[in-house]
Point group: C2
Chain length 402, copies 2
DNA sequence: CGCAGTTTGTTTATGGGAGACACAAAGCCA
DNA sequence: TGGCTTTGTGTCTCCCATAAACAAACTGCG
């Protein structure tokens, strides 16, 4: 059961990589943990039991069922469902939401979607943090940290929101500091981190969703308004030297297109977001439901029957394909995942989009560009939690006092 | 002088990082090596003397001159000028060149520029390798490996040249295999590596030139024809999942511009290369000298006096600025360096180019984008040598048999 | 049922590499 | 010349990981 004393008390070397392997589902058993870490069985055993005593994972020595192969069955490794959690928060154009997320990207609790919006960031952040703190109180969980997803580029290392256009916040709002203030006021004793929502969604998808195993993952998504991008390189989010990478919204995809608030015309931001599709289809935005939901319904119910809808979808797909081809030429990712409306467009006509990317990129002409849909629910929330989990993944012993 | 025996014979842990620090000029003395590695003085001393016995660096315990500060003077560390070399080779639209490059990016010998061109890659590679082998014979140096720079994207892991348009080679030519064949035939017993010339130039500039210290370095350059780009992230070349990243030549910078061989119009490739500047200035390419040299002369002698030349330069600068702003929005580099004609354009009017980038990028609007010129001579050759040196930098003991 | 074969977990002995520490060396400055 | 500062060197020790041997648990077969 337990190991010798001398082993249990020691350091911090392979612990982080081992926890990350379990966290991302790449080490379901102790045997594969051994080979994935490239260490001996003895070391892997010590590391696993150390993580177990930290309360982070469970080591199940009685699999019970048949293993399907020869030899002694390996111990099952899993995230401890009773372990600590991270507080995740998201604010967007239509409201906010909070959640508790454990290791492995497991959602333990979520608040219902709240539709309050306010021009004062402190006000909204106070509400979402209070909602998260309530969840913590109800569940009695230990909280390792808190993460916040915002629909804006977040400058590093300042932690300021540079272009929160769709929140009507002041540009340059110090979201990270405000978030930490709200955490302190709500009695949550944990560090707070902030990031762009699409960046965090990409991170979550890379670790737990459609991006698993990709070395260079590109994610492009449109939610309520505007278009965001993200790049995960070798497992780490590439947010640029100042946190401003992958601001893909202003790639030009139609030189004669709509004017954009950036001063140019035909930007991805205004040519491929939900409003663009509705307008191209000759529809006016309805009063209820978000624009994203309206486009989803439109594609689901009328894409097959209404030529105008189909034509509009194709036009938007064509512009999206142009933008993605440009990104592929610059980044050469080995997987592309699409979220929001872009996901529905991909699913409406995958071949059209794929063909455009392959025709428009050097790489596409020489092979197949793997294109997939985001699959995770609440991926921005899960990604926000990843920010809070990162110190634990980097060094579990240092990050957990116990 | 020498250390205790037990220390000299051991492993391979801090050796690589230490050699890289000396190689890139960031560890001029043993004291700063100690702090840069974050280890104790004892460890740094053992590592330095190990590298010395390997014949890679010199450790000078007698500085002689005044140190300018208190305390015992630290031992000087330098690349051993008598150490091994890498064979570097470059082929381009107008010919080829070979060189021997030591650690630290030191050029030990170069062949004169040769203007032979041929549609058969094997023929040219045989000639350039033979020239390099002659240099090796003349100098009697030990060769750790060979690197080749080509003006084409090089697909990894195949090692094939995907778009050697300006060499009139067949697309998909297996350059790395051909290069290794030529090395073997020339009696050079060393592994051969290949890369894109601009990528390798960026790598060289990052380690020894204008890119030193940059965490996210973007390099854009135009040589004889076309435009290339490169990105160095955290000290490693980012060449994408298949070696095809930073194919920036086909960013659209003028929707109504010249037709491009890629099928689109107004690509960076055809709007900002030397030919584009000459045409915009109303000049016809002269018979002698490369197009690059002609544009350099034009800018040097007539930019200040001829309004047509100035207007043409400004037009090209404007398009380059548009392309760079797009790249900055995607990559958010903390330094941009320009080579070839782009360098001369930057030096002709730095404020104009800088202003365009800052106006056109989210990051630029919030701060200063560091923009600089490439400074290294033969940076593609030095970068090609870096490929060959990389195994030594990663693990000196494993890479050097002695 | 028992045994060979296979794979995995556990224990013990061993060793390499880096840190802590004390001391020596080599320059400044008064 | 003697204090002060910084750096190089030797010794001891500890920590982490490995190797090797053994034990455990399952499959499949006769």
């Amino acid at each position: 059961m337990t190991h010798t004393r001398t082993r249990l008390e020691r350091g911090r070397n392979a612990l982080g990589p081992a926890l990350e392997l379990v966290h991302t589902g790449r080490a379901p058993t102790r045997a594969v943990l051994t080979t994935a870490l490239g260490v001996t069985r003895a070391t892997a055993g010590a590391v696993a039991s150390e993580l177990q005593t930290l309360g982070l994972i469970t080591v199940d020595s009685r699999p019970g069922g048949a293993t399907g192969s020869h030899g002694r069955p390996s111990h099952r490794l899993a995230i401890d469902p009773g372990g600590p959690v991270a507080l995740a928060a998201q604010v967007h154009a239509d409201g906010f939401r909070a959640a508790l997320v454990g290791l492995g990207g497991h959602l333990h609790a979520t608040t219902p979607a709240c539709t309050t919006v306010a021009a004062d960031p402190k006000e909204i952040l106070g509400q979402v943090v209070a909602a998260g703190a309530d969840l913590l109180r109800e569940t009695g969980r230990h909280c390792v940290g808190a993460g916040l997803a915002v629909p804006s580029a977040v400058a590093e290392p300042e932690g300021t929101a540079l272009n929160p256009l769709h929140l009507a916040w002041p540009a340059g709002a110090p979201v990270r500091d405000l978030f930490n203030d709200c955490l302190a006021e709500a009695g949550v004793d944990a560090p707070g981190y902030c990031g762009n929502d699409v960046n965090l969604a990409a991170l979550a998808e890379h670790r737990h969703g459609a991006g698993q195993g990709a070395a260079h993952l590109l994610c492009v998504a449109t939610g309520h308004r505007g278009v965001g991008g993200a790049l995960v390189l070798d497992g780490r989010l590439h947010s640029g030297s100042a946190g401003l990478a992958l601001e893909v919204g202003h790639l030009t995809v139609d030189p004669a297109g709509r004017p954009c608030h950036c001063g140019s015309r035909g930007c991805l931001d205004v040519e491929t977001d939900p409003l663009a599709l509705l307008e191209a289809a000759g529809r006016t935005p309805g009063p209820e439901g978000s624009l994203l939901d309206q486009t989803r319904e439109l594609l689901r119910t009328e894409y097959a029957t209404d030529p105008a809808v189909r034509g509009a979808a194709h036009a938007v797909i064509d512009r999206l394909g142009l933008g993605l081809a440009g990104l592929v030429n610059i980044l050469n990712p080995d997987r592309i995942i699409l979220g929001g409306l872009h996901r529905w467009l991909l699913e409406a006509d995958p071949d059209r989009l794929r063909g455009l990317i392959e025709a428009g990129s050097l790489w596409g002409r020489s092979g197949t560009v793997p294109l997939a849909a985001c699959t995770l629910d609440y991926n921005s929330l899960v990604g926000a939690a990843e920010l809070a989990w990162q110190p634990v993944l980097d060094d579990p012993l240092a990050a957990l006092p116990a």
